[in-house]
Each structure stands twice: as C-alpha cells, then as structure tokens.
Symmetry: D2
Subunit: 427 residues, 4 copies
C-alpha cells in the first residue's frame, strides 16, 4: 500500500468514527464498526463485549433507558445486528489477536469512547467544514479516541504481513473518559500472558512531529457519587421536622476540601458536581456530591478516599441523613518502564515524521490505562505509555478539539516498528 493510500485509509476510518461518538458503555456503533474492520483484516482471535470484560468491575454503567436509547440509535445508524446482540447491556469493546510463532506477547491498548460535549460549528473547525462533525447532538470525540481506534486498526494491518514473531493483542477499551473501563479489561484475563504493553495517546499539548516514549506522572484517581437522603418538611410550618440533606451536603463539601495535605506528596479533592433540594419552601430531603480524589501515588489517593468517606458518613449522621456512596470510576498511578521506553525512544528517532523525539514527560492528569499497565507489571511484564504529538487547535475536552491527521500514519509506524523491535530483541 502506498504511503498516500495508507494515510487515506486511516483518515477515512477516523472520520467515520468521529461522526458517531459514543460515551462509556454506549460504544455500540463504534464497537460494531471496529469488529467489522477486524473481520475484514482477518485476525486469529477476536473477542467482543462480555468476552473482554470482568463484568463485576464495570463502573458508571448507565441505566437501561439510557443504554437502550444509544443501542437503538446505533442500530438505526447501521451497526451490525449480529454484533449488537453481543454488546447488550452496555458490554462494549473488543480484543483482536494475531499469532505469529514463538515470540513474546505484546499488547497495544487504544480507547474508543467519546465525551458528552456539543461539537463546535465554527468555520475554522475542520470536522464542521469538512462534513464529518458529530451526528450525535451533545456528544463528541473531543479527546482523539476516534484516532486511537483507527491507530489500533492500522497497527494490526501493519503487523499482520510483517516479519513480526510472537503474539500481538490490540485492546479496544471502552469507558476511559469516566476511568470506568480500564479495570474491567485489566481483570478480564487477557492481560495474564502479556509480556509488553504499550498504550498510546495523541496530542497532550505536543505538536505533530513530537513523540514521548514514556509518559509518567499519572495521578491515581477515584470518582465517587455520594447521595444523601433525609426527610422533607415544610420550611415555614415545621422546620424542625425535616432532616436536611442540603445541610449535610454543605457540611461535607466544606470538610472535604479541608482534608489535610499529606507529607508524602500531592493530593487533590474536588466536589465537582453537587446539588440538592427541590423547592424553596421544602426542607431538602435529597442532595448529592459527585466528586473525585487524586494522589501522586495510589497510596495517597487511598488516604484521600478514606478521609472523604469519613467526612461523608459523619456529615450525613450529623443531619439525620443516610448517605449512599458508589464508586463511579477509578485508576491507580503508574510509571512507564525504562526498558520499554528505551526501545520506543530508539525507534522514534528513526520514524518518518518524528522531528522531536522526547524520552519522558509528565502528565499531571489521570488515565485508566494505568490499570492495564499495573496488571502487566505485576505479572513481571513491562509497560509504557506513549504520547504521539498532533497539532490540536482546541484543548483536549473542548468543543474545538481536532487532530492533525498526519499524526495517524506517524503513530501507526512508530507503534508497529516498536512492536517488531520488542519482539526481535527478546532473547
């Protein structure tokens, strides 16, 4: 395939995925489209939906109504009926395997979900002017996962007919944006025999031509939802008869932010989405806090979570309320292994289009690829998180985010060459 044809093919697929962004556990169209491609390519093993997830680890799964709407929408947009059936109940994602002889097992993880954000209609927003803007009102690929899925397909194609010896697994992971899908895939069993894991992300404020062989500095994170329930009462007539869930919530908010700093390093807390009550003249019986805790290490995140739990329980008790907590998403911290970073960095210096190879950089955010990295590392394998620069006009998660499609072939070349290099270096 010529260089141009190769690029065209990747661009075409990415643009198609871009038009149908689907958030966590609703990636029905996306998974169907990916499986379609995988069958076209012809892989040795193909796992779909429930086969790629430890189901009991799924977090932030929407209710049946919500799932039903996206499911139906995917069907109407042409998702394959036989694949849809396998994804019922929001069990999305896929894993493709290529086996080529005796070498090591190398895995590549790409994520596939979109965000709940309305895409820009600006004149200088390419998807809008070029006709591949999101078809889903209020949803958007604003973090490049359309590109990631495309890169996963591209790498499979590149490896398939190469001299690679070993086993390649490409993991198409759902639900990364809510840090909800990493753990179920990490615990699915598919990682058990993986010797090397690469995860990839484009952008991250690096322009096209820059590559970071090892991204570090992931903050461990946990998303929680705390729902307070008290007793309503008429605020004029019987103020004493209520148990005020909004007072519980406010007391909790004040004390969550006041959790002590930790000697061992950076911690974070945010009550990012809160609310309660229904009418000015009713003592509020319901309130909620959706928030997150983070830590420079998993240990620090756990410290924050324990303190937060104590605050939430006590604030509820103080106001005669109960509180239900659920974990909405979670990811540990992680570090890229030097052995793997070394290989990717060396490859990157020789990759067409890479003008500025960087060995390591720090992220300062969170990502649930860390679950997969940790899983592999705990089994004695090596893992690295690779950044592939792309010019992106708007910031990640904003309505004008877009990728420079020139970065697609760069990523595919870098990753497939790295995978072949890893296999060849193995004793």
């Amino acid at each position: 395939m010529s260089q141009q044809t190769h690029r065209d093919r990747l661009v075409e697929l990415r643009r198609e995925l871009h038009q149908y962004p689907e958030p966590a556990w609703r990636e029905f169209y996306t998974t169907s489209r990916i499986v379609d491609e995988l069958e076209t390519i012809g892989v040795d093993e193909l796992y779909v939906g429930p086969e790629v997830l430890a189901e009991e680890e799924r977090m932030s799964v929407p209710d049946d109504d919500e799932l039903g709407r996206w499911y139906e929408q995917a069907r109407q947009e042409g998702a394959r009926e036989d694949i849809l059936e396998r994804l019922e109940g929001g069990r999305t994602g896929a894993i493709a395997v290529i086996e080529r002889g005796e070498g090591p097992t190398v895995a590549l993880r790409v994520d596939i979900d979109g965000l709940l954000r309305e895409e820009s209609i600006d004149d200088d927003h390419v998807p809008a002017t070029e006709g591949f803007r999101s078809e889903h009102a209020g949803a958007m690929h604003a973090c490049g996962h359309d590109a990631h899925a495309t890169i996963g397909i591209g790498v499979l194609e590149a490896i398939k007919d190469s001299d690679f010896e070993g086993t390649l697994k490409v993991l198409f992971q759902p639900g990364e944006e809510m840090v909800a899908g990493g753990k179920p895939m990490a615990k699915s069993g598919h990682l058990d025999d993986v010797d090397y894991l690469l995860a990839v992300h484009i952008g991250l404020d690096h322009p096209t031509g820059e590559v970071v062989a090892g991204v570090d500095g992931f903050l461990a994170v946990s998303h929680f939802l705390a729902e307070f329930t008290g007793e309503p009462a008429h605020a004029g007539g019987k103020p004493n008869a209520g148990e005020n869930a909004v007072q519980a919530m406010a007391t909790a908010i004040q004390n969550l932010y006041a959790i002590p700093r930790h000697e061992d390093g950076a911690t974070r807390i945010n009550a990012g989405d809160v609310g309660g009550g229904s009418a000015t003249n009713i003592i509020p019986e319901q309130a909620y806090i959706e928030g997150e805790v983070r830590g420079e290490t998993t240990h620090l995140k756990d410290y924050m979570q324990e303190r937060a739990d104590r605050v939430l329980e006590s604030a509820a008790a103080m106001h005669g309320c109960s509180v239900e907590q659920s974990k909405e998403g979670e990811a540990p911290s992680a570090e890229s292994d030097e052995g793997l970073v070394e290989i990717v960095h060396d490859v990157s210096t020789d990759t067409r289009g890479v003008e500025n190879p960087i060995r390591r950089d720090s992220l300062g955010g969170s990502e649930d690829a860390t679950y997969l990295m940790q899983e592999v590392q705990q089994n004695g394998g090596l893992a690295a998180y690779v950044g592939v620069g792309t010019d992106h006009p708007g910031g990640h998660h904003t309505s004008t985010f877009d990728v420079d499609e020139d970065s697609l072939p760069i990523a595919v070349d870098l990753l497939s060459s790295s995978i072949r290099e890893i296999a060849s270096k193995r004793p």
Copy 2:
C-alpha cells in the same frame, strides 16, 4: 337558577380550569377562559393583562422561550386570539368591576395559577377517574386555585342581580404560588379606592362545612435566587487556578442556617434548591442557592434578608466569586381586621352548608394576598382573609390534592352574602 343548577355550573367551570393548570405568568388559557366568562356575564368594566399589573413589580418572570411554549399551547387549546394578544410577554390576570350606585367599593381577590407538579393517576383520585385530570404534563392545580377562579366568577354572577349597592371588584390574580403576582396587582392602582377587601382560600386542612372568618399568622416571606460565578480550572492539574463557586455556596449554606434567632419572634430560613459545578474534574465555576427567608412580621423577615445578604456576599468574596441576587417573590405579614371578620363570621353562621363557623385561625405559611391587604389597610380600608373548608384527600401541593365541589356554592354564598352585608352596613 336552582341550587342544583348553580352547583353544576360552578363544577363544570372548575373542572375545565382544572384540566389546564398554568404556573405563574403563563396563565394564558386560564385568563382567556375567565375573560370569556366575564364577557358572558356582562360586567361594567373589564381590565386584562398589563392593565391590572404594575409591570415593574413582576417577579420570577420566565424567559421568552418558556413563555412562548405556554402561549403557543394555550392557543392550540383554544384560547381566544384577541385575548392572548393582550397577554403577551406573560402579562396575565384580569379584574372585573360591577358598579351599582353609591355604596362602598368592595374587592374580592382570587388567585388563578397552578403548580409544577405531576397530577396523580391513582384510582381514588377523582380528577383521574372522572376524566378531568390535568392535560399539562408536570403541571397541576394542587392548591385549589381552579376553585378560587370559579368562586370569583360565581360571586360576580350572584352580586350582579342582587340588591348590592356599591362597587364590586373581583381580582383574578396570577402568580400566587411563587408569591410573585400579589405585589404587581397591589401596586396597579386598582386598590386605591377599595374600602373593603376579602381574599379567599379553600381547604387549609379545614373540612367541608367549616369556615374561618379571619385567617391570620401569615409569615412574611422573601424568595431569593443567588447565583455564584467563579473561575473554572482543571481539578487535577491546576486546583489553585480556580475560584470555586461550590465552596462559596457551601459556606453560604452553612452560615445561612446559622443566622441568629431573633428576640421578637419566629424566623425561618431555607436553602431549598441548590446546585453547582459540572464535572468531577473541573473546579466548579457556577453554583446557585434558591432559598427563602420568613418572619412572623415583615420586620423579622427583613432582618433575615439583611443577614442573608451579608452571608451571600461574604461567602462569594471569600472564594473569589461574584454573586448575583434576584428577588423571586415576596410577601409581607398581615392581619385580618376585626371589623370585617365580625361581619363575615356573622354571615357564616347563617350560610347554608356551614356547620362549623370559626372566627379566627392561624396559617403558619405565606401568601401574597397580604400585599393587597396591606395596600387597602394603608389606605384606611379593612381587609380579611377568609378560609372556606373543603374535604381534600391529599394535602395542599401534593399530587392527590382535590377539592370537595360542595364547597364551591358554600364559598359563593358566604362571600356574596358578606359583600352585600358589608355594603348595607356602611353608613
């Protein structure tokens, strides 16, 4: 008209209004229907919409979209085009005047708005089983204002052909539920020459056959909406860069409830509807508190409001936020005048269907009829708030509220007889 026919007529009108409940400033169908009735009856003067309101005093007016939707709905339900035109922009309500010679000017105030609440579909909820349940999803006459409007029409009919000498004004007031419509009507000028004002409410936990000649104990009330605006920032990467509107909100809530009690009597405070933020990983830039303060007297309500203002301003300043406050509704306290209570009480002992005449009772809630009462009293007139019992299966403002339609003719008889008695007693 026979007793039975009289009752049937009232019931028919009440049931029709019941099917089309409209909240504050959206009483398009209701006003149209009332004006229709008034033209049929034939009154001496008829004022509609802007003619009955001091417009600058309107509170809680919805935005144009919201008004537009209800306006269009009323049109489709058959509201008269010529009347709708006069109500544009949410200027609803009407005043009808009958002039009969030299006597005093007596006014009767009835309110006409519904509530945003889904009506019950229970088997023992009469409007559901008898086929006159609300046609408007999420809206309901759950406080009997459909009956009030009907009573207003009934009293006009009863007085029209009676021996009454003087001037009768019946005020069909919008927006009572949000204590938003009383002040604009009180300040419209139509109260300036009123010597006697009666306001009426059915139910109030009194069964059919009970009548309270003078209801007292209204708590002065003020509804406020406080909107905090800060600065967003990434909660993981730049927590210090944000100005956290949710922290401002939580600090305000804690301190609002902690406003000191007052030596002069009962006060109330409630943060009844609050919220803020948008995502767990963003330092919240927006938050709001919709709440209310009350006092046994207007002075006490003002004390609470002043302290609340101070809390809201300081909480915003503490967290680098701004806060915008708007008054969403307001009503003073008020007392029924003994001179008028005496007359109504005497009449009630002779009214058919009244088995338990009560002189005075206390409400413990709020009502913006107090604005009209205060206006009349300040001009040297007398005012009384009359309660007419009705068996109501569900409590006021609940989805199973309903009225015993037998109370409709009782109310009409009581009020029209009282009005005639007032006029005849005047020197």
Copy 3:
C-alpha cells in the same frame, strides 16, 4: 423592732455578705454566716450542707484544689470551724424550718452565691465608696444574692413572732448562677411536703417600689461542656498524621448555630466559650466548646440538646476525634400559679413602699428556681416567682450592679405578709 432598726439590721447583714461573695459550691463563709444568724434567731429545725442536697444531682462542682482554696479563705475570714466541717467537699447551703401548729407548709427560696467578676472601684459605686466592696479579687455579688440571703433571714425573723400558723421553710440555695444548685435542693426531699413555694428576686430592671407578683417566661436551659480530643502532629512535617480537634470544633460550632428553628416556639443556642490548640506549628489535639441551649419550654430545650449532641458527636467522628460531654447546669421552664400570684398581688397592693404593684411579667432568661417550682407543682402544690423592684445603677451581672437597700424591708414585708396570708386562707 422599729422600722428604722429593722432596716439597719438588714442593711448591716447584706453589706457583710456583700464583702465575701463566693461562687457555686464555694459558699463556705456565706453558709457559715447564715447558719450563725439562724442559730441566733432560733429556728425549730436547721439543715446544713449535705442534709439539704441530693448530692448526685450536683453539677459544675469545682475540683478539689479550687474548693480547698475557697475553704481555707473562709476559715481565715472567720467562718465557724464547726460549720465548715459540715460543708466539706463543696456541700453548701442551708434550710431553716419554723413550725407553728397545724397550717400548711410554705417555703421561701433564696439563692446565696456570687459571680466571678471584678467589682467596680468607681466613685459612684456605693459599695466602693461606703467601704463594703468585695474582699475577694475577681468575685462579686453582681446579681443581688447578698440581698436575697438577707431577705430570707428577715422573713424568718418576721414570721417567728407573728400569728402565722403552719410550717415555714426557708431554703438558702447555693449555685444558682451556674443553674447548678436548684436540682440538688429540689431532689433533697425537703420539698416533698411543701404546699406553697415562693421564690424571690430583686431588680430585674424594675425600680424600687415596683413588685411583680408572678414572674413567668423562664427559658429552660442546659449548659454543656464538650471536650474534643484528637492526635497532635507537626503541622509542617506530618499534617496528615494528626486528628485535628480544632477542625472538629469549628465544624461543630457552624452546625450548632444551624440547628433548625422549631415550630413550637423560641429556641436558643450559643457556643459562648471555645478554644483549642497550643502552638501554631502543631495540629491541635485538644479543643472545647462550653455552650448552652435554651427553649421556651423544657421540651424545646430538650430538642435543642438532642440536636446539639448529634452535631458534637458527628463533628468529632468526622475528624477522628473523641468528644466528652458534661452537663454543667440545667433548669426547666416554669410558670407561676395564678392562685398564688393572686394572693401575693393582693398583699402587694397594701404593702408599705410598693407604689406600682404588677400582676405578671415575663423574664426571658433562665433560673433554676424552676426546678423547685416544678417539684412543688408536681406534688400538687402551688408556686410563684416574685420580683421585688430595686433601683440598680448597673445592669445585672455588671461590675457596677448594686441594690437600693430600701427594697430590703419592702421585700421582707411583702413576703412575710404573703406567707401569713397564704396560711390563713388555707381551709
């Protein structure tokens, strides 16, 4: 005894007591001096110290060091050794009984303790210029209990040789200022056979010549001390290792003041004396709140106490602290009985020096005479709290408080005449 001699005698005793003010459970000199007087007068029964107290009900008892210091001081000031021995351990107070035949048992309660406040040295403060200012640095009779004790003695003298038939008990109660002594005396058994109880207070913003036959409106009150204990840690090096008692305290304060108002009437809350921590660089391990709750009724006070307990417990738990609560004082609400108020009011209209007899007035504060009133009322007896006006330059509890000594004979006359009248009216 002539009128003048009578007055001189009362003035002399009051001035002597004024010089030796002693706070709760430290009334060693005062009790000794009172017993001395009682023995001089000659009463039929005389109970001292432990004999007048249900010891397990004593509240706010100081520690042994504090008691020892006041005990020793009293000894050095000439308190009788034989009486002091009976008061050991801070068991102060006395009850004197006169028995005169078959009539009813009438009791008069006077309180005898002083306050911890430095007395004024102003030129227009009579005790300072006339040479009977407090000899105890930092302590003062700033609420007239020196006058009350004197009045108790005066009434005994007046009744002793009168035509009174029945039994008179005069209760010299310790520890009123801390609402700590009323309950132990009420539960001592001495009230069991009391048919009528009068309690007396001078001043209360009424001038000399005014008398209130029945004082009402006592707020039930409870004083509490909550002590938080956490864990210290270096604030720079190990902020996470501490459990912060000051954070617990601050959370509690905010939420104590925010306890909801009650539909049934007035409530009060105050965190009047708080503190915590020791050094800026240590996470505070200790903190305390000394506060009070009040209610228009005992029920309302209990509501406040229950909510306060919940707040204190939860605030401690939230911050990993324990909290110890102790009740430092308590008194219920009470009402004066009309039967007794009537008698005292009638007598007051005939009492020399009374220019303005008032039937009833409301206090708006708290007093533990209510325990004794309640005890008598629960046994079927009647009780009244009598106010005797006195010109007082400074307010109660201020350093310039003083009494007009002309009010002493007025009080003695009013009360002894009332007691005789009560006995004579009894069937």
Copy 4:
C-alpha cells in the same frame, strides 16, 4: 589549649546558658553573658541590641509587662547593668567582628533563644541530674540554642589566633523559635558586605559524628494572629443583637483548611491556637486564630497567605465583625549554595570526630536563617546551612531534649576550619 581544656570550656559555658533560657526578645541574661565573653576574648568590633537589628522588622515583640518581668529577672540573676541598658525594650542579640587583613567577609549565624516549655525532671535527663536544669519555670533550651551560642563563642576563639585572613562576623541572633528575629538582623545592614554565610544547627535527628554540609528543604513560613471583634449580647434575651466573633472564627477555620492545593508544590496551613468568647450566656464578641501558612517556596507561602487573608476578612465581614491581623513571624524558603557546601563537605571528611559526612539533606521544617541566607545570596554571596549531629535523647522541642556535649568541639572545629578554608580559597 589542650583538646580537653577546649571541650571543658565549651561545656561550662553551654551549661550556664542552659540554666537561663529566655524566649524571643527576652534574651537579656543570655546577651549580657555573651557580650561578657566577647569582651574577654577581645574582638575588633562589637555591636549590641539596637545596633544589630532593623527595629521596624521585629515581630512578636511581647508587651512591656512581659518584657519588664524578664528584664528584672535577668538583673537579679547578675546580668551586667551596662549591657542591660543597651537591651531595653526587648532589643536583644549581638554581633562580633574580627578583622584580619584583606580576605573575604565570612559570617557565621547562631541563634540564642529558648522555648516556653517546662524542662523534664526525669532521672535520666542529664541537665536535671547534673544540676544545670533550667532555673526559669516554664522555659527551656529545648532546641540546642545554648549550644549554638557556645559554638559561636568557640569559633571566634579558634579563628582569633589562627592564620585566617579576612573578616569574620559572628551573628548571635535572637527570636528564631518564633521566626521573629531573622528578618530584623538580615535587614540591619551587617549582611551587606558578607561574601559567605554559614548557619549551624545541631541535632536534627542526626547522631553525634554525622555532619550535613548543606541542609535544604526549608518550607517558607508565615505566622499570623487574627483577632476578631464583634458585639456582645445576651444569648437568651437578644441573640440577634450580637455580632458573633466565634461564628466568624469557625467559618474562617473551616475555610482556611480548605484553601486549594497548589500545582507547584507542597503547601501547609494550620490554625494551631484558637479561642473565643467568655461565658455560655453571652454572644461572643472576641475570638482569635493564631496560625501559620507554609510553602515549598516563598511563592507558595505567599499564595497561602493571600488566600488566608481573603478568608479571614470575608469571615469577619460575614458576621459583622472586624478582624485585625498581625504577622507574628516569617521566613522564606532557601537553598544552600553548592560552592559552599562543597567546601564544608570536604572539610568535614577531615574533621576529628566526624564519622559520617553527608553532603546534603532536607529539613521539612522552617527556620529564619533563610532570611540571612537570602540576603547574602541576593548580594551575590554564597550561603550554606550546616547540620552537626548530636545524640539527643528527646526530640527537638520536647522536655527531655539534650545534646551530647562531644558535638560542641566537633562543631567548632568543623566551622572554624571551614571558615579558614573559605578565606584561603578566595582568589
């Protein structure tokens, strides 16, 4: 002087100073005794009290009563009258200068103040058993500043008769424990011509025989005192009439701890000593927070201070109070310069008694030597903070802290050799 004599001499002086510990700005005896020694040694210039301080920079100066008491005590303990006169008003400390030809100006800073802490009387606390325990009840040298002053004297003696060429300044700084004396000495002008500055501390959890050539990781710190003033009122009778300083304080505490973490590094906040109110039945009119903010850099400390100021001001405003803030102490962060660390480290490897020379270590606390280091560095000079290990049974600031006196000659040798080496290396 023999090795043994040298040690004895140091031990004798240290033990004498240990018996008379004096806290910030009260080092009257201590300064007098140091000046006495300096005159005995014979230095070229000697500055005392006001001559060594930029007076307007003094923080945490006690009131006149407190100063007067310590001044009088020092006199009675034999402090020289002529020196005491120069220290009036709490202007303590001294600087001694030796000039030896053309070389560079090297300064050594030692601090001289004690702590307000009762010294142990334990059997294994050497000062207690050897008879040199503190003579000042409640005060103690619990951080080794007695040793530091002694080392300063020892270094002067050692340099005086050596081959040193240049100028040596030894700075005897008052008020380090409250981070109150560093800035006034830094801004006194005496640092203007200093080319090299060494500061020294013993212990820091390093045993005798360890030396740290360059201590780093000082957290910038600021101590503040915030005093709230509101309005008192009777908590039962007029709760609304007060302006509650304790509510302001509690609101501030909650929000101080909730100041957002900072992306640039570690921050700290502590409300370490708080209190308010006076009686349970009075709405509190006074309250205070004595606290501290810290930051990994001065910039981070300033961020915390700005946010804290905003919280304190707004909390006061919210409750109708005023707040007065005073800075009680302050110190920036600082780093030891490699050039100087190198020299000291090299010397330490050759110093008798040094078994474990360490190049660098991190403190994690605060110290106002950083003001002097910063001053020298801003003028183009180099600075290093040197740690000299000493076995200390109790931790710093505890009642059983003591030093191993063998570390005294080690420190003197290390520092005097380093100073000579610095001078000789200068081009």
